[in-house]
Homo-oligomer: 199 residues x 3
Amino acid sequence: MGLIEALDLIGTFVFALSGALAGANQRFDAFGAFVIAFVTAVGGGTLRDMMIGQTPVAWMNDTRYIYLILVALLCSYFFKRYVLKLRMTLFLFDAIGIGLFTILGVQKTLDMGLSPVVAVMMGTVSAVFGGVIRDVLCNIPPLIFRKEIYATACIVGGIIYLALTPVMPESLAMTITIVSIIVFRLFAVKKKWALPVIE
Amino acid sequence: MGLIEALDLIGTFVFALSGALAGANQRFDAFGAFVIAFVTAVGGGTLRDMMIGQTPVAWMNDTRYIYLILVALLCSYFFKRYVLKLRMTLFLFDAIGIGLFTILGVQKTLDMGLSPVVAVMMGTVSAVFGGVIRDVLCNIPPLIFRKEIYATACIVGGIIYLALTPVMPESLAMTITIVSIIVFRLFAVKKKWALPVIE
Amino acid sequence: MGLIEALDLIGTFVFALSGALAGANQRFDAFGAFVIAFVTAVGGGTLRDMMIGQTPVAWMNDTRYIYLILVALLCSYFFKRYVLKLRMTLFLFDAIGIGLFTILGVQKTLDMGLSPVVAVMMGTVSAVFGGVIRDVLCNIPPLIFRKEIYATACIVGGIIYLALTPVMPESLAMTITIVSIIVFRLFAVKKKWALPVIE
């Protein structure tokens, strides 16, 4: 298993974990929590694949994702207290996750022959729209439409990746992009950065 | 018209009827109630078809579904009191409906060459996600994420069907699956079975 | 640029403007307001394309839509007070927009070989489901399920267009359809027409 594959699976796991806990917060039962964990983890990529026409959607061709999300659900049941203590670790892997998902979404969209601006949008959708669908199913307004810079980190990351990838080795461009997103996220949370609101 | 086709149309009709009444509960007008009836009846299959890439989605190739849903809407307008009295009949046909929709979703997904676990998931999506979309459009948290075992009946039914279909005639496997789902549903409601919630 | 193309872009712009303001009403930040502007403007066509299987969805092949929506977002930030004064103009272009989007949706669906009744439904989805997705993301019940005749104008317009297009030049059929929708909308709002609700 390569590093990218490992990070992809870890990112999926961390997303699913946070989704399962979000479902539990709504007092959803095990089925509901599984659906929320699932859409949080793979909903963004699923929406991207349906929009660009890459069907059956990605996770259907690799059942490991399904089992991984089931394991995350079980972890949220049996180790909830422990999971909640890992906040900083989860934050880090969440940032790595959105970075990687952005890049993979950008690549997939470019491979379809679509334009770079669409690719950045689809990269962002891959990374953050699982959370939007999660919030819609939990019947709350999507967090990322209000909270600290989250989607913006993906947009910036996607642009950085597009700028770097023609002038350096792929692995270096990916590393710089992901590190940028992590740093960006850390600053955004620490400094309470926020986008303007229309007044 | 074969038995399966008849049950499919009756299931669609019953789903549409319950959808129209759910729309009325929200004080939606005739257009809103039609949309809710429509997504309740065919929304699950539509989502499945978009995810597995079988487009145009199924109902577009058979306009009988559209007229059937319109008739269900009219029935909910003119015979609402009578419809509400048929609770046990509707419960039965709803259970037959989710059983049949699960099986048809499983079959369609397997026909695409996707794995059995994905097939059970898509069978369940076919049967219950119309109700999820209905609830999202009604701006309430999806009922099946909280209520008695409903989606679980489909998952269990899908697994039973997958286990039986290689070792017996198709029609017998389908009958046993649908009867199992009905019995499962009856017990779940009578005994107030519930899935655990993450504490 | 032809007249249809110009009206299409103006319609998109007006939809995006109203979406950005709807996002602002929810206190969403710039990213959230952009998403709401985007789905309001192109969400209906995106859903139609995913359902009929015309992917990548339309706007991905013409980046002008993306930039236009960004400009609409900026206008809502810097000229909000001025925009709100243009109510009558916006109402007019909104009516032209739903008329044109209905026709384009009907045409695209017929071109796929689907039936006229499906075409009218997909025309209506193109015109009004962007607003439905906007409301879902804003966590409010879809306005058009309750309010004055809005979707009905599209359904009527779609039927008029289907009836006229075989017996007269295309441009005349389109003009009559759009004018009918505008007149229909004006009367609906003035006379407070409403569809019945199931009691």
